[in-house]
C-alpha cells in the first residue's frame, strides 16, 4: 500500500538541497533511514525524521555512523529501500560496512554532503575531496556508482536514479552533494505521482523462486543479468551462502578471482546504461572543459562569454562520475587542443582520470579550488590563455 503522503503535490516547490534529496528518497520508496548528525548533511536526517513516519517508514538517529550504515544494511537485507546521509568524517567510519555491502551485493544509497577537510576542516565549506574516497571507499576491490548533481532539481531526480541503480546493479550508490549544494534554496519541479511511479524499480520477489534464480549470466548471450536482491525472511534468500563469494552461476566458488571479476564486471559491462553525461556547445569545440557538480554551473557562464569572443570552447559534464566513462571522454576530447578541468579540490582526482584517458597527449589544465566557489572569471582566464 502506498501512502498518500509519499508524493508531494506535483508542481513547483522552493526547497533546500538537502530537503530535495530527502524528498527524492521518499518518492523513490525509501522506508528506512539511519543517520547521525553531521554538518552539512544534518538537514537530511531532520527532514526525514518528520517525513518518513508520515509515510510509514522509519528514520533512526543511531549512536554513530558505524551503527547508521549497519542498520541501513540490516534494513536492506530484509527488503527495505534504505539510505543514509553523512559527510567526509562519517564516510570514513562507514568504510568497512560499504565494503561488506558490496560483498553481500545489497542495495545501499549514500548521500555524501561533502565538506572541507582533512580532519575537521572548515565544516561549512564545500570541497569535492571525497570523490576519490568514494571510489575506493572500503577494503577490497569493488565497483561503486557515484552521481554528481549540480542543482536542487537534480538532487531530487538523481536520488530516484540512485535508488534505481542500487536495486538494479546491487552495489553501493553515492550521491556526491556538497556544503553549498546541500544548503542552496532553489525551485524544484516535482513530477506527478504517475510519472514517478513509472520510473521506479520496486523491490520485489522474483515471480518464481524455485530453481536457479540466483544466476547472473544469460546463458544464451553471456551477458550479465543481475538477479533482484535477496530478501532475508523469505524463501528468496541464499542463507549460508549470502556472504560467501559466488560465481556468475550464483553458486559459491572456491576461486576468489571469479567473484572479484563478477563484482566489477557486472557494473562496468553496463556502462551505456549507467554512464550519464551531458554536453554544452561541444560539437565544434577545440577547447574542452570536463567537469562535474557545482563547477559546471560556473563553466556555463565562462563558455558563453568566451564564445562571444569567438573562442571555440565547450563542456563535457559527468553526471555519473564513477565508473569513469573512458570511452565517452576519449571521444569528447579527441580533437581538443587542451582540456580544462575545474574541480573543487586541490589534487584534481578527475583531472588525473582525464590524463589517463588522453595518455597525456593533450594538455590537461587543472583549476583547483578548495572550500570556495569557482567564479566564471577564474575559468574564463584559463580559457583565454589556452586560446592565445
Amino acid at each position: 500500500m502506498i501512502s498518500e503522503k509519499r508524493f508531494l503535490q506535483a508542481g513547483k516547490h522552493l526547497m533546500m538541497g538537502n530537503e530535495a534529496m530527502s524528498e527524492g528518497a521518499i518518492a523513490a520508496g525509501c522506508t528506512f533511514f539511519g543517520g547521525y548528525p553531521i554538518t552539512p548533511s544534518t538537514e537530511v536526517i531532520e527532514h526525514l525524521a518528520k517525513r518518513l513516519p508520515e509515510v510509514g517508514g522509519v528514520c533512526m538517529q543511531m549512536e554513530d555512523e558505524l551503527a547508521s550504515i549497519n542498520a541501513v544494511m540490516g534494513a536492506s537485507l530484509v527488503g527495505a529501500k534504505a539510505m543514509t546521509a553523512t559527510s567526509g568524517p562519517g564516510l570514513a567510519l562507514m568504510a568497512e560496512t560499504i565494503s561488506m555491502g558490496a560483498n553481500l551485493e545489497i542495495p545501499f544509497v549514500f548521500c555524501d554532503v561533502q565538506r572541507n577537510g582533512p580532519g575537521t576542516g572548515y565544516v561549512t565549506e564545500p570541497h569535492h575531496n571525497d570523490i576519490g574516497f568514494a571510489r575506493f571507499s572500503g577494503n577490497g576491490e569493488f565497483q561503486i556508482i557515484a552521481l554528481a548533481p549540480m542543482n536542487c532539481q537534480e538532487l531530487y531526480d538523481l536520488t530516484i536514479t540512485a535508488f534505481n541503480f542500487a536495486e538494479k546493479y546491487r552495489c553501493p550508490v553515492f550521491l556526491m552533494s556538497d556544503a553549498y549544494l546541500g544548503h542552496l534554496h532553489e525551485v524544484v519541479d516535482i513530477p506527478t505521482r504517475e510519472e514517478i511511479l513509472k520510473k521506479i524499480i520496486k523491490r520485489e520477489l522474483p515471480a518464481n523462486t524455485k530453481g536457479r534464480v540466483f544466476s547472473y549470466k544469460d546463458p544464451s548471450t553471456g551477458e550479465y543479468v543481475i538477479p533482484s536482491p535477496p530478501i532475508m525472511g523469505t524463501e528468496y534468500c541464499p542463507g549460508l551462502f549470502l556472504h560467501q563469494p559466488h560465481g556468475p552461476d550464483g553458486l559459491p566458488t572456491p576461486k576468489p578471482i571469479v567473484f572479484q571479476e563478477m563484482l566489477i564486471e557486472k557494473i562496468t559491462s553496463k556502462m551505456d546504461e549507467i554512464s550519464l553525461t551531458e554536453t554544452y556547445k561541444l560539437d565544434d569545440a577545440d577547447i574542452v572543459i570536463v567537469s562535474y557538480g557545482l563547477p559546471v554551473r560556473s563553466s556555463y557562464r565562462a563558455v558563453d562569454i568566451a564564445r562571444e569572443e569567438g573562442i571555440k570552447v565547450g563542456i563535457f559534464r559527468l553526471i555519473t562520475v564513477w565508473p569513469f566513462p573512458d570511452e565517452k571522454v576519449k571521444v569528447a576530447v579527441k580533437d581538443a587542443k587542451a582540456v580544462i578541468v575545474p574541480e573543487l579540490n586541490y589534487t584534481g582526482v578527475i583531472a588525473e582520470q582525464v590524463e589517463r584517458v588522453t595518455k597525456l597527449e593533450t594538455p590537461v589544465i587543472k583549476i583547483p579550488k578548495v572550500a570556495e566557489f569557482h567564479h566564471p572569471d577564474d575559468i574564463l582566464k584559463v580559457i583565454r590563455e589556452v586560446a592565445k
Binding site: 549497519n70 540490516g74 561488506m100
Partner: protein, 304 residues
C-alpha cells in the same frame, strides 16, 4: 579453531538455498570446526534444540552473527535458517535495522566477548538502551579465540594471553552490569556447565518482548585453557590443569556463584568469579518498535 574441514562439504541438494522444511540438522550437513572440548558445540546444540522445541519460524527469527569462533555455529544450523555473518561488533546495529524495517521479526544475535564488550561495546549499550525486541547471546570465553588467544575485555585478572604474556592487569568488563545499566529488560548469566538453565533462559528470552541479554560462560580450551594451565586452576588440587574441555567446564562450574548467594559475599570473595542467575526481568517496559509504531500513527494523523 581448526582451519581444516570442508567449507561446502558433500551437501548438494537440488536447490541449495531453497530447501523446504526447517530441521535443526545439527552435524548432519556439516562437520564441526570447533576444537575438541570447545563449549560452542554445546551452545549450537541447545540453540537448535530450542528452535525445534519451540517450533520457531526461521523466517521471523533471523540469526545475526558477529565475528569470532562462534560464527561457525552458523554452519551447524540448517540452510533454511535465515542467517547472516556480519562484521566484528556490528551485529546489534544490523539487527536494529532488520527489526525496524520488518517489525514482525525478532532477531537473535550471536556475539563474543570481544565482539560485544570490545569493538562493538557502543552498539551493545544502545541496543539495550532502546529495549529493541531481540535476543543477544554473549559468549564469554575470556579470550579472543579466533585470532589466536589475545586478551579480551573480559579476561580474568591475572590470566595470561598472547597480548598479556606476563599477566592481565586491566579491570574486566562485565556484560551483565553494562546491560543492566544500559536498560536491557531481561538480563541473565549462565554457563555451558548449566545447559538446562541456559535452555530455560533462552526460552524465556524468546517469549520476552524487549532486549534480552544472556551471557554464557564457555571454555576456550585451546587458548585460555592452554595459557592458564596452572595459575587459574583450583589451588592445591590434583589434576588442576585445564587441558581438556571437561576439566575446564568443571572449573567454570566451581568458579560460578549463584546470585542469591553472591548477595552475602564480599567483593574480595567474588573476585574473578562468575555470578550466575537472572538479574532483571521486566516484561512490561515499552519496546522500541512498538513505540515507533505509535510515532508513525501520530505522524500519519498529522498531529504534532
Amino acid at each position: 579453531m581448526s582451519g581444516v574441514g570442508p567449507m561446502y562439504p558433500n551437501e548438494k541438494p537440488e536447490h541449495p538455498y531453497l530447501s523446504k522444511s526447517y530441521v535443526g540438522d545439527l552435524l548432519g550437513n556439516y562437520s564441526s570446526r570447533f576444537c575438541a572440548g570447545c563449549g560452542y558445540g554445546i551452545i549450537a546444540q541447545i540453540y537448535t534444540r530450542v528452535f525445534e522445541d519451540e517450533q520457531l519460524d526461521p523466517f521471523l527469527h533471523p540469526l545475526v552473527i558477529g565475528i569470532g569462533c562462534y560464527a561457525q555455529i552458523m554452519l551447524l544450523v540448517h540452510s533454511k535458517a535465515q542467517k547472516i555473518l556480519t562484521l566484528h561488533g556490528r551485529a546489534p546495529a544490523i539487527a536494529t535495522g532488520m527489526k525496524m524495517a520488518n517489525p514482525k521479526m525478532k532477531p537473535i544475535i550471536f556475539s563474543g566477548d570481544g565482539d560485544s564488550m570490545g569493538i562493538g561495546g557502543n552498539h551493545f549499550i544502545h541496543l539495550c538502551r532502546r529495549n529493541l525486541d531481540c535476543v543477544e547471546l554473549v559468549f564469554n570465553n575470556s579470550i579472543y579465540g579466533m585470532t589466536g588467544g589475545q586478551g579480551a575485555p573480559t579476561t580474568l585478572f591475572g590470566a595470561k594471553s598472547s597480548t598479556t604474556p606476563y599477566k592481565m592487569f586491566e579491570n574486566k568488563a562485565d556484560a551483565v552490569k553494562i546491560a543492566l545499566a544500559a536498560g536491557a529488560t531481561y538480563v541473565a548469566r549462565t554457563t555451558v556447565a548449566h545447559p538446562r538453565t541456559f535452555m530455560k533462559y533462552f526460552k524465556k528470552a524468546l517469549k520476552h518482548k524487549g532486549t534480552s541479554v544472556i551471557e554464557i560462560v564457555t571454555p576456550c580450551v585451546t587458548y585460555f585453557g592452554r595459557k592458564n594451565l596452572d595459575n587459574l586452576g583450583f589451588e592445591g588440587e590434583e589434576g588442576s590443569k585445564m587441558d581438556t574441555g571437561g576439566k575446564m567446564i568443571e572449573w567454570i562450574r566451581r568458579n560460578s556463584v549463584r546470585n542469591n548467594q553472591a548477595k552475602f559475599m564480599t567483593e574480595e570473595e567474588l573476585f574473578n568469579k562468575y555470578v550466575i542467575g537472572e538479574f532483571r526481568y521486566e516484561p512490561n517496559k515499552p519496546e522500541y518498535a512498538d513505540e515507533y509504531a505509535k510515532i508513525q500513527k501520530i505522524a500519519m494523523e498529522g498531529k504534532k
